[in-house]
């Protein structure tokens, strides 16, 4: 993994993505990127287009135009399976787990281990599940209860473990902390930190700034289907970002990073400093 020698090729880049539904431009020329060992928040109001953008990456929608580049090569992502083949795993808002199955059964859903007769090898799956979940969350004990009996944080652990089990390198988390308590939010935060240390790239999708501000290294902010701008978390305050989300306006001191969607953006400036985020306009 490229964690020490940071050659800094992005894990994933989405370039100039367009998609419209019945004449409404849901995503209009947005470009974002994600590097290994990095947590990037994608922020915006409901309807800003962030979920649509991410669903294009996870294969749920197909872009009308634009490129997706994984590890420097253009990737065709037409369905969830293609995304997975590119090591992109998505953890959905409604926690895509089957409530009636237990942790191990959920971890291996769709990719069960079988014995030589083609029957499910429950023991081997439970063994592997225990291993992965223990690494993520040493307190996890309820291996044989249906996941409906688990707390929100434990369910997130299962969902993340599921992604890890299949060697995800890019993890997309849709509203990772929605419907979680304070303690559980903290737990998910710790999980994310650990994944980051393991060199994964993580995209956090949220409409709530507070959920993701402290977890993210960078933020992409969207409004009305366009990218307002991309900023490093350390360069901005909560208020700066709120301004971006609500007004679609870049903070004054970062105007040079503004995207085409920013209301007071000077347009795509060709002489912008070669920050990671200034791919826009290509």
């Amino acid at each position: 993994m490229t964690d020490t020698n940071i050659t800094k090729d992005p894990l994933v880049e989405m370039r100039d993505i367009h998609i419209s539904f019945g004449g409404v431009k849901a995503v209009d020329g947005v470009s974002i990127d994600l590097y290994p060992g990095e947590v990037v928040g994608v922020l915006g109001h409901n309807g800003a287009g962030k979920s649509t953008l991410i669903k294009i990456l996870s294969g749920a929608y197909q872009a009308d135009s634009g490129q997706i580049i994984v590890d420097g090569k253009e990737a065709k992502i037409e369905n969830a399976r293609d995304a997975r083949d590119n090591n992109i795993e998505t953890i959905y808002q409604n926690l895509a787990l089957a409530d009636n199955l237990d942790a191990a059964q959920n971890l291996f859903l769709g990719r069960e281990l079988t014995d030589k007769f083609g029957f499910l090898n429950e023991a081997a799956m439970e063994h592997k599940a225990r291993e992965v979940l223990h690494r993520l969350n040493p307190n996890f004990k309820k291996f044989t209860s249906p996941v409906s009996a688990l707390s929100g944080g434990q369910r997130q652990s299962v969902a993340i473990a599921r992604a890890l089990l299949f060697e995800a390198r890019v993890l997309i988390m849709d509203e990772p902390c929605a419907a979680l308590g304070v303690h559980e939010t903290k737990m998910v935060g710790e999980l994310i930190d650990q994944l980051k240390r393991d060199g994964l790239g993580i995209l956090l999708i949220s409409h709530d700034l507070h959920d993701v501000f402290d977890l993210s290294d960078r933020l992409h902010v969207m409004k009305n289907g366009k990218l307002v701008g991309s900023v490093r978390t350390e360069d901005v305050t909560h208020d700066d970002v709120l301004g971006m989300i609500i007004l679609g306006k870049m903070p004054e001191h970062l105007m040079h990073l503004a995207g085409p969607g920013a209301t007071n953006a000077p347009g795509s400036s060709p002489d912008a400093p070669s920050s990671q985020a200034s791919e826009i306009g290509k």
């Binding site: 969830a80 399976r81 997975r84 998505t90 959905y92 409604n94 895509a96 787990l97 089957a98 409530d99 009636n100 199955l101 059964q105 859903l109 769709g110 990719r111 069960e112 079988t114 083609g118 029957f119 499910l120 023991a123 081997a124 439970e126 063994h127 409906s148 009996a149």
Partner: protein, 421 residues
């Protein structure tokens, strides 16, 4: 007591059902002056339950995937008619009457057509997106009408001599010796499964049940098998039938020789086979796992790469196959196929499944629960018939029991097994 059961990892709902069944049996036995719990009545009960029980096994999968099949009774009707025609009109053109292949080919035709009928309904549900309730409500009318069209309403009889063995009856049993052999095999299988499961868990150092619990579990299961087989072997053929049988085989008729046990009726054997195969499918195969995943969260199943539409077709096709087997059992039992065969069976089947603890919301249900549910329904009906209760009152009681069963299940489930509620 509850803690003891959880140590033994016994399904609490199963224990509840077993207790209900026991109360019904003992109650009817007392009320009828000891005529209910007799080898003869138990034998008849098992034969009468068989047809509904086979279909109930498939209905579990349908309901677990959040669908319903209201057409099973009508599908049974049309398949019984088709199989009747195949064995009485069609096959005799090529084979002798009562040829040993007749029943095999007949059943095969029924199973293929059953799978096709189920598959068509599955396509309408899965690919065309019509709710299963509507598709199978339409199916109920279509297939019942089709059953009439097969012969313009004429009842098909008599059926093939080998085919009618599928329905039980005097010769449709496997006799005492084979019954003991089946019992022995069943007990060996129970012990083997327990040992293998424990060994597998130990090899991965997972927690296992205490040894005493393993022994108790195995002994209870083996004991049940023995009790059932002993009971069935204690039911002897009527003297006249025994005489005829001995004469046919050229064995001298003496008082000792006349004591011929029925043993396991063939329909019960079919039920056991279907239930065992489907239990293995549900617990040990991808197919079964996907059925439950779809019931738990169809979206999650889809995202996990499961082809939900194709699974829907497969589950409905399987239901059609089981309808064919049930059609064979019930027409064989009556030794004729009439176009009203299986009328209202859809309700008996669904009631059995629901009493057996399958949730109409999907994702939850067991094959063995459905079997006990079917037995509860049939016990109530036979018991009341034995006591001479009016048929009208019988349906009132059974209707009330169904509602009560679902209510009590919901109530106890909420109170005792869901810590988050």
């Amino acid at each position: 007591m509850l803690r003891l059961l959880s140590k033994m990892e016994v399904d609490r709902r199963l224990v509840g059902l077993a207790v209900v069944l026991l109360i019904i049996w003992v109650g009817f036995d007392i009320a009828s002056g000891g005529r209910f719990i007799t080898p003869r009545n138990i034998f008849n009960l098992s034969v009468q339950t068989a047809s509904v029980a086979v279909m109930a096994c498939g209905m579990v999968l349908i309901i677990v995937t959040r669908h319903i099949d209201l057409s099973v009774g009508a599908v049974l009707g049309v398949l019984a008619m088709i199989m009747g025609i195949v064995q009485t009109d069609f096959l005799p053109q090529f084979l002798d009457y009562n040829h040993p292949l007749t029943w095999v080919l007949t059943l095969a035709v029924g199973i293929v057509i059953g799978a096709a009928i189920g598959g068509i309904q599955g396509v309408a549900v899965g690919y065309l997106g019509v709710p299963a309730f509507i598709v199978t409500l339409g199916g109920l009318l279509v297939w019942r009408g089709a059953a009439w069209w097969v012969t313009q309403g004429r009842t098909v009889a008599p059926l093939d001599q080998n085919f009618i063995l599928l329905g039980g009856g005097i010769e449709g049993t496997i006799g005492a010796t084979w019954s003991w052999i089946v019992a022995l095999l069943a007990i060996l299988a129970i012990a083997y499964a327990a040992i293998m499961e424990r060994r597998r868990r130990l090899s991965f150092e997972f927690p296992v049940k205490p040894v005493w619990a393993e022994y108790t579990n195995t002994i209870i299961k083996a004991g049940l098998v023995l009790v059932v087989i002993t009971t069935l072997n204690a039911y002897h053929l009527p003297t006249r039938a025994a005489e005829r049988l001995l004469e046919n085989k050229g064995i001298p008729v003496t008082p000792e020789n006349l004591e011929i046990a029925h043993g396991i009726p063939i329909p019960l054997l079919i039920v056991a086979l279907v239930a065992i195969i489907l239990t293995i499918v549900v617990k040990r195969t991808r197919f079964g796992r996907y059925v439950f995943a779809i019931g738990g969260n169809p979206q999650a199943a889809e995202l996990a790469g499961i082809n939900v539409k194709r699974m829907t077709v497969a589950v409905f096709a399987l239901m059609g196959v089981l309808c064919a087997i049930s059609a064979a059992i019930s027409s064989a039992r009556l030794q004729s196929a009439g176009n009203d065969l299986g009328t209202l069976d859809e309700l008996r089947v669904i009631a059995a499944v629901v009493i057996g603890g399958t949730s109409l919301a999907g994702g939850l249900g067991t094959i063995y629960g459905a079997l006990i549910g079917a037995l509860v329904m049939q016990s109530l009906q036979s018991g009341m018939a034995l006591l001479g209760v009016d048929t009208s009152l019988q349906s009132i009681v059974i209707g009330l029991v169904l509602v009560l069963a679902v209510f009590s299940d919901k109530y106890f489930h909420r109170r005792y097994s869901d810590p988050s509620a």
